[in-house]
């Protein structure tokens, strides 16, 4: 199992990070940053719009 994990790690590293011109590493960095940041922002925006709808309907029922 350990051998398999280590092989998997090595292959991943070789394929993604150790390409000769190292451009894949730049892409990995970019995907990591933008994926995480935009993902978090989209999730927050979704929750925010759901809450805004809730507040709106509560205000309507109140009036």
């Amino acid at each position: 199992m350990n051998h398999l994990t280590s092989r998997l790690l090595q292959d991943t590293a070789r394929g993604w990070l150790l390409a000769s011109d190292k451009v894949y590493a730049v892409m990995a960095v970019m995907i990591l940053i933008l994926g995480l940041l935009t993902g978090l922002m989209l999730l927050t925006a979704r929750r925010l719009s759901a809450l805004e709808k809730q507040v709106e309907s509560l205000e309507k029922s109140e009036s």
Partner: protein, 257 residues
């Protein structure tokens, strides 16, 4: 459309444009080949802005913590709810922590491909270089994680806000030696020890790099402010809804008695 909302749209649009420029031109521009780094030098455009965004957001968090303490002064006439500043300080620190984690992760990838490419993947040292800035950034992250832990240990909102604000001032003060003094004292992978804050020195970094780095840096800072604003609005609205529900339950209870 109010003046505030047009400013908001303008900075969000600017953030998107600057980031698109940073991504497209950062990947496609012809850059001078640097020894050892080769094309991985392009990671600079995405790794360095993480730290400047983090420092901006931690600075915003510090500002709101100081403001909260001033607003909570018993001799002062209350003009606004001081707990709003607590929400702003917490959310700015939260986004700052995300940038800190991203800065560490991108640094690990960069050091792996540039300085540890010949080492086997299972070795810890091939991923973690024990570079002074890397260690200081990790210490900074732990200090801010403790801030959230401290907040979680208090139930009473105003007590939590006051104690967390005081801690936050000390947390920001630790970032100054961690990011600006210690790295200049010890040699490491970063050129800071020999060159100081080299990214702002004309003779240390070529114009081709500066032309992409600075706009991308501004783009990420604006994106951080955008994320902070979204989070602040979300938490504020959730609290309002909670208060409203509690009030409704209370009035319902008293009317049935």
């Amino acid at each position: 459309m109010t003046r505030m909302s047009s400013i908001r749209i303008a900075y969000q649009l600017l953030a998107v444009l600057l980031l698109l420029y940073g991504i497209i031109y950062g990947m496609m521009a012809t850059l001078p080949e640097l020894p050892a780094l080769q094309q991985s030098a392009r990671i600079m455009f995405y790794h360095v802005p993480m730290w400047f965004s983090m420092l901006t957001l931690m600075g915003m968090s510090l500002y709101h913590s100081i403001r909260l303490l001033l607003l909570m002064d018993p001799d002062r006439v209350q003009t606004e709810n001081p707990l709003l500043s607590d929400i702003r300080a917490t959310e700015a620190a939260r986004i700052g922590v995300i940038f800190n984690i991203l800065g560490l992760a991108t640094g690990i990838i960069w050091s792996r491909v540039s300085w540890a490419a010949d080492r086997p993947s299972h070795e810890f040292s091939s991923w973690w270089a024990w570079d002074p800035i890397q260690v200081c950034a990790l210490v900074g992250l732990l200090i801010y994680l403790a801030y959230f832990q401290l907040r979680a240990s208090f139930k009473e909102p105003s007590q939590r806000a006051r104690i967390a604000a005081v801690y936050n001032i000390f947390a920001f003060a630790t970032l100054i030696p961690l990011f600006f003094i210690v790295p200049k004292m010890f040699e490491g992978l970063h050129p800071t020890a020999a060159k100081g804050s080299f990214i702002f020195k004309k003779d240390q970094i070529s114009n081709e790099f500066r032309l992409i780095l600075y706009p991308t840096m501004l783009g990420f800072i604006l994106m951080g402010v955008w994320a902070y604003e979204l989070r602040t609005r979300l938490v504020h609205l959730a609290l309002r809804l909670e208060e409203w529900r509690a009030l409704r339950a209370y009035t319902h209870q008293s009317s049935t008695r």
